[in-house]
């Protein structure tokens, strides 16, 4: 029956694409939760537009993962019929929206990584990933500019906005460490020139954050304990709640289409 959970069983390249699809989908879904609740009309449009870009990236990546897996799954099934422990997203993107400062800090930490990541992926030996990257890199650059402007405005704003921005940064920092690690599944893909080496992205990420934080008068926390496990399917409790809402329709009405 179509509502039963599925398990994705594609080869490493497909798993790799699936993990990036999960990043984009969950962050896009989180941003879509702001619909009708953003602090002003311009932000309503901005968050919805960014969500749309991310969900678009997710669709391209899911479609590619499904094509490689060749098990008859489609992009909707991959998004709506997998359980939390089979999601391979970064822990950062499943974190709740919190207040507007927390959403913007999460957005900055992710897009400052995603922009150079997709730029590097434009040189991937895999032609489809390179083509998806060419679009995603430009979109993430635009998202980064938006997030950086807000983080500066909030950090260098009132005492209250500064306090909230610094708090959000302190709370989210422990989820950034795993962005720059590669597990046994991804290491051979890096060697083959298919996947970008995350260790090489870290200095670019750090430099762009340093610039934003200096202007925002925010202090990056020291690298202490870092949470790991998102890529391996070990998630926090928030992901289950997110999926129960996001997957509800497809689980309740199996096979329903627009």
């Amino acid at each position: 029956m179509a509502s039963s959970s599925i398990v994705f069983a594609g080869p490493p390249l497909a798993q790799y694409a699936l993990r990036r699809a999960d990043d984009a989908l969950l962050l896009g879904h989180r941003l879509s939760e702001w619909c009708g609740q953003a602090p002003m009309l311009e932000e309503e449009l901005a968050l919805a537009n960014i969500a749309l870009d991310l969900i678009g990236q997710a669709r391209l990546l899911y479609a590619y993962a499904a094509e490689i897996e060749a098990a008859g799954h489609d992009e909707d099934q991959l998004a709506y019929l997998r359980d939390a422990q089979h999601y391979g997203n970064l822990l950062l993107v499943e974190q709740p929206n919190g207040d507007f400062a927390a959403t913007m800090l999460r957005q900055l930490l992710y897009s400052a990584y995603a922009w150079p990541y997709w730029q590097a992926m434009e040189r991937s030996a895999d032609a489809t990933l390179a083509a998806i990257a060419a679009k995603a890199a430009k979109e993430c650059a635009y998202h980064h500019r938006h997030a950086a402007l807000w983080v500066v405005r909030l950090g260098d704003g009132t005492a209250e906005s500064h306090r909230r921005a610094q708090q959000a940064l302190d709370d989210l920092w422990m989820f950034t460490g795993e962005m720059f690690t590669a597990d046994a599944l991804e290491a051979p893909l890096i060697t083959a020139g298919i996947a970008a080496d995350p260790a090489l992205l870290r200095p670019l990420w750090q430099a762009s954050l340093d610039e934003t934080f200096a202007e925002a008068t925010l202090i990056a926390p020291a690298d202490g304990w870092m949470q790991q496990g998102g890529r391996a399917g070990r998630h926090g409790e928030h992901l289950g709640h997110l999926l129960s809402e996001m997957q509800y329709l497809q689980r309740a009405h199996p096979g329903v289409v627009w």
């Binding site: 449009l45 749309l52 870009d53 969900i55 678009g56 990236q57 979109e139």
Partner: protein
Amino acid sequence: MSITASLTRAWRIAADIADPELPMLSIADLGILRDVRWEDGTVSVLITPTYSGCPAMSAIADDITAAFAAAGIAPVHVRRVLAPAWSSDWITPAGRRKLAAAGIAPPTPGSAPIACPRCASMETAMLSPFGTTACRALWRCRACGEPFDRFKCH
């Protein structure tokens, strides 16, 4: 009809289809239409998205199928291609003129000044980097006071 003549006719049919979000422009004006060719005995129409999440792609595919059916050409195969990636440089000169005529500032690179599409004043400023569709930002003219859309340079 020769294959070349058929393909020329097929291109004209496809090139005439309006973009759902910018109906004053055709999909050829916008650079979304990439190619019309014979593949395995059917006509293939190759289109590319402006943005990854462009919600108009499926509507455009439906419009292409309908236009070819109305012209007596069926089936037609609509195929999405990603490379080379679309950028605002793919908008044709005719497309840029149509955008300006519709009150939408055409894309210009980098920090080049933007002329108000209504009064041509250069005294313009961005209100929001995100606008009414994925491809537009919201601007305002300080001279005439009118807000206007600017096609993002992407």
